[in-house]
Subunit: 490 residues, 2 copies
């Protein structure tokens, strides 16, 4: 253990927790299962938000804001939806506190709500209630709306970023005139998510569909992207749902088409959350700390001066000033850490812990030789390079690091995605070399449930790019036409 | 009444409500007092957020996120704080629903929380509980943090944007080593707010201090900016609080200084909310709809083509394409509304309603003459101008409109700020020509309360730029050393 972080080979779960705490990303709050996102962690989330928000707007979506609270009766209007969420809802029952006369603050029983309010676990119900007022004609469609918000799901077991009672997310809610258009929207947003997670977060994903068992409560089809973490467990990084006409029917949302014929509207919803932070951290980091892809790193380059005398620092500072100007023109974020309260070694360790992609160290000898020392966080390698052309070199290196991180994660995912044909082999691999297990399944929810009960592995998805292939179910031996992707998951 | 909006001279309150609804800014939700911010309204809020967020970061602040829920016991730790907020708190008491066996979804009484949770009305308590873990030494100070969040205050009378049960806001929470530094921070953030409200929203404000009666619950001093709406009522547009050591003492947050001496930390908090949207709408708009200052308008220029034949439209489109490129280079937002489903007159009215600062209309004759028709939303005037140099002309005009809107509001505020020396005159003006009434007050909470009870006017602030002036309290005739600003307020 270094820096208070246990080795990931020793205890992956504890390593993740240590890392989140030590790198100042988040911590638990005194409210059960709720987290505090610290400034450094939040600055990464802000970058994620900014990029996704731009992508949503470029695909025609607008942001809006709907209430935090949902009347209990609304929540129950779509039967499978309430079944899916009722067990994990925070309920507001009163709207006032009072002094009990003995100096204690208690809930005022005279201020009991007539109808209890649910703190939104997701907003389909309140949004579809609203859409009824917004949609009358085909001219009002498609309605393409997104919301950035906090939601609450009362989880029994929580983990920072991965599963918290309150979390931050975005939820898209769209309405369409036709089934085809709604399905196309759900698929488009899955592509947007995959693009973001692969090309910004540098995390490779498998795009697929959920089995009926694993669908969102109220959806006809749930698309998902699944990523493999370094411990061989899968993580669902984003979902996009085709909701059919379920919510339109529950909230009576009809539109008149060009021929003046009335029909229910077709719907989608899609979301990603602060869980992405968990995927980002777990995919790339190591025992020395966080490894961030340059495209999401709040600080891309840090410069640490090495000096004894003030005139040396002045000399170095003058050089760094010029470098900073050049890098800023290239939209590269640079930090010059000239604190005199900490030694260079301390700073090196700190920026390694925080995952800064490139570190530049400059001492007096470097200034004489017109060189700097460049250290890469991803490979933990150093090189001495010329000051001349450094900005261009850094720009290229950042691109290379982004690609290298993705390549490394892709190789890991490929190496840990294995075709399995027997249940014994399936169980052996789950214990000895966990990863994505591509196996035949007879298509029944019973078999899926039995495998889950016996092995804790679930069907992560039926990959979209699946080839048809005749085979036999690993559990029942019944015929199957395609492989599905199993894994133990977060 | 036009466009379904009542005249503001007839019923200002109803005019505001009509305008918010008709301009697609917001609407009430089925949850009592909670609003839905519609895409157009939210796009203005996003601009407000973006500018303020940049200003906060430029003054050294970082964003973070703290839980939505606060344990009831925390909330009661600062005595005046709980007194100020207990009467308007949404309380979470349960964490699960269930089916009662007859198909009804009810609250599961087996899932009652041991300690009730308060939905945050403001976050001082949970944040100061957290700061205890973050602050040990002077090296950890100042701690400069901001949060963008939703908060809930159970209001009995609500109005869209101005007073809603749930609202969106930002809350800054800072910790400092000395009293002077904390006061300087509170004053700095007041200046940031005033700068934003005057120079972006084009709403003139008076900077001042609240009287003890009107202070934030838990503050030693509350600074505020007050603006005058077109009906002569005041609106508090932002507040910045010097909290002294109250919260540090309540949550035991001490730091060791350079001499290793322990002391409690000094605090500030400051916030603005979606209430700013109300101030923006009420300050500038007229009976034809919204008037937006160019610097916050989601669409700054709209182009409406006037044509009969498709080749005319092609011709106009080609020209608009070039204009768009030029304006985008100047960071001016332009929309080309070439919908063939609506007539030009309909579009003119729609963009007027939505407050787009500049409208460009182009017909075939304009194309022949190499001119366009330009219409300003603020003055409702039109002019025919040459296509040559149009982008530069638009750029200048937008600046002129921004200044003109501010000047108009400033003139209104100046004309409706009156020095009053007798209580009779004070009461007469409140009824006949309401505005800011600058009057002497004897400095006692009793007098302040009596004036409020009798006239509904409150002391909005003691202006920061006040001159000392001997006088007599308008109510009691007792001596006073300075005038304070009274008004009826939102």
């Amino acid at each position: 253990m270094s820096k208070g972080i246990i080795s990931k080979d020793e205890d992956y779960s504890q390593w993740f927790n240590d890392l989140v705490i030590k790198a100042d990303l988040a911590e638990y709050s005194p409210v059960r299962g709720c987290m505090i996102i610290k400034p450094y962690g939040y600055s990464i989330w802000e970058k994620i938000q900014a990029v996704l928000d731009k992508m949503f707007k470029e695909t025609g979506h607008s942001n809006a804001y709907f209430p935090l609270f949902i009347p209990k009766s609304f929540f129950s209007k779509e039967a499978s939806h309430v079944d899916g969420f009722a067990k994990e809802c925070a309920v507001v029952t009163h709207y006032r506190l009072k002094n009990d006369g003995n100096g204690n603050i208690i809930v005022d029983e005279d201020a009991k709500l007539e109808e209890e309010l649910i703190v939104r676990p997701t907003s389909e119900t309140i949004i579809w209630h609203t859409y009824k007022g917004w949609i009358q004609s085909y001219r009002d469609l498609p309605l393409l709306i997104n919301q950035w918000a906090n939601v609450v799901r009362w989880e029994m077991r929580t983990r920072l970023f991965l599963r918290t009672t309150e979390f931050l997310w975005q939820e898209g809610h769209t309405a369409h005139a036709t089934q085809q258009e709604a399905i196309a929207e759900a698929e488009l947003m899955l592509d947007v998510y995959a693009d973001f997670v692969e090309n910004w977060m540098a995390v490779p994903v498998v795009k697929g569909r959920k089995t009926p068992n694993e669908r969102f409560a109220g959806a006809l089809d749930t698309y998902c992207i699944e990523a493999l973490m370094q411990d061989g467990k899968a993580l669902q990084a984003g979902t996009s749902h085709f909701l059919g006409q379920n919510f339109a029917k529950a909230f009576d949302v009809k539109f008149s088409d060009k021929e003046n014929k009335l029909d229910y509207v077709w719907a989608t919803s899609w979301g990603v959350s602060t869980r992405l932070m968990g995927a980002l951290i777990m995919s790339h980091s190591d025992d020395a700390g966080l490894v961030l892809p340059p495209m999401l790193a709040p600080i891309q380059v840090v410069v640490v001066p090495i000096y004894k005398h003030d005139e040396e620092l002045e000399n170095i500072s003058a050089y760094v000033k010029g470098l900073t100007t050049e890098l800023r023109k290239k939209n590269i974020t640079i930090k010059f850490d000239n604190r005199d309260t900490q030694r260079p070694g301390f700073k090196f360790a700190e920026y390694e812990l925080k995952g800064v992609p490139l570190r530049v160290a400059i001492g007096s000898r470097d200034m004489q030789n017109a060189t700097v020392e460049l250290a890469r966080r991803d490979t933990r390698t150093k090189e001495t390079v010329a000051q001349e052309g450094l900005a261009e070199h850094i720009e290229k290196l950042l691109e290379e690091i982004q690609q290298n991180i993705f390549k490394k994660a892709s190789t890991f995912t490929t190496e840990n995605t294995v075709e399995v044909d027997t249940y014994d082999e399936f169980k052996r691999l789950l214990d000895e070399k966990p990863g994505f297990l591509s196996a035949h399944w007879d298509g029944t929810p019973e078999t899926e449930q039995q495998i889950k009960d016996e092995t804790k592995a679930t069907i992560r998805c039926i990959p979209l790019n699946n080839k048809l292939e005749a085979g036999k179910c690993i559990l029942t031996g019944k015929p199957s036409t395609q492989r599905v992707l199993f894994a133990r998951a977060y």
